[in-house]
Amino acid sequence: MSHHDHPQGQHDKHEKHGHHAGHGAAPHVLSLRLLGTVLLVLLALTGLTVYTGKRDLHGLDLGIAMIIATCKATLVCLIFMHLKWDRRFNAMIFLFAVMLLGLFLAFTTLDLGQYQPNVAAYRAAQP
């Protein structure tokens, strides 16, 4: 499947690296077929997450929902947001954002249970 075609007659054919080439480089164009396929996969995954969300999966619900959501997000980032073909530095910035989010969540989660006995004691002391 051809993922890219260049605008005809507007640019030289020699730049194979998309906009990494010099002045007047042709943009990297995604094929309509690829975009349509991604949309269909995203819709199918939405259907899947609604289906699994309605079933009792014995505590795995959240994990499965998050795996499906991460797959969808990866598709949107790589294809729709063009990160697969974009400059690597842009992808790095976004990964950095996700890592910071992970760090933020991880440290909060580590701390979560820490003060619960105090909270429980406080509540028990309330009239």
Binding site: P7, Q10, H11, H19, G22, H23, G24, A25, A26, P27, V29, L30, L32, L35, G36, V38, L39, L42, L43, T46, T49, V50, G53, K54, R55, D56, L57, D61, L62, A65, M66, I68, A69, K72, A73, V76, C77, I79, F80, M81, H82, D86, R87, F89, N90, I93, F94, F96, A97, V98, L100, L101, F104, L105, T108, T109, L112, Q116
Partner: protein, 260 residues
């Protein structure tokens, strides 16, 4: 942005094309700089939302049963429709970028218009959901109409005060019947779920509205024929922002609507 070069300058002459600002060597460098800037902005957006996701995580891990209970008040049907609407709009805006790159002006305008319509549809559905929550009093504890007030007699009193809409036990407001047996402490906990729900979806909704303003501006410029395969930066960056709005909703939908 478009007036940097004198009108008389030749398209590929010393001054460069009209869209090229004087502090950039080439159009490509200008495009890359704009895009880098937008990605850094998207990083700050992720961090902006991360504070609310942390609040969500904290509260859900401490009170999983409250989330399972309160999530039943959200309508999965509307959530799923809104997910579909946003995914379709992400597709049309990605297609619009392709149109801009290929110089397909009519298709570009059409796809931007469809994206805007989807965004409007999303907000319309959100309005239906929010007004439903408002009328049933499914609000954060501090809200005047909330049925999750902490006082023991609050539900009975507010039913009297708002008898036109809040008839206790009547089919008009099944929510009141559902929460009237909760203890004061439980009502407080459920109200925090709704506080988190409104903060997350509200902040996301604000982003949708900002996206609509940006898309309208890009649509007007596209209609004026300002974009060419050599210059379509606003379309590309507007699309990236719109995809981020979609990305966040991809996580919000299962986290809020699909809890067992």
């Amino acid at each position: 942005m478009t007036s940097a070069a004198p009108a008389a300058a030749p398209a590929h002459g010393h001054h460069g094309p009209a869209h090229l600002q004087h502090h950039f060597e080439t159009s490509e460098q200008q495009f890359d700089a704009s895009k880098l800037g937008l990605w850094v902005f998207l990083l700050t957006e992720v961090l902006f939302f991360s504070a609310l996701f942390v609040a969500y995580t904290t509260y859900r891990s401490l009170h999983p049963e409250v989330f399972a209970y309160a999530s039943n008040f959200l309508d999965t049907k509307w959530g799923a429709i809104n997910t579909t609407v946003l995914l379709v709009s992400s597709f049309t805006v990605a297609w619009a970028v392709r149109n801009a790159q290929l110089g397909q002006r009519k298709l570009l305008i059409m796809n931007l218009a469809i994206t805007l319509l989807c965004a409007g549809g999303f907000m319309g559905i959100k309005y239906v959901e929010y007004s439903h929550k408002y009328h049933e009093g499914l609000l954060w504890g501090g809200a005047a109409h909330s049925i999750f007030k902490y006082e023991d007699n609050y539900i009975r009193d507010s039913v009297k005060a708002h008898s036109h809409a809040w008839n206790e036990g009547s089919p008009h407001n099944p929510a009141v019947a559902a929460v009237k047996d909760l203890t004061k402490e439980q009502r407080k906990e459920v109200s925090i779920f709704f506080a988190i729900y409104f903060c997350l979806t509200g902040l996301h909704g604000i982003h949708v509205m900002v996206g609509m303003i940006l898309l309208t501006w890009i649509l007007i410029r596209a209609a004026r024929g300002e974009f060419t395969p050599q210059f379509y930066t606003p379309v590309d960056l507007g699309a990236l922002y719109w995809h981020l709005v979609d990305l966040i909703w991809i996580f919000l939908f299962p986290l809020l609507y699909l809890i067992q």
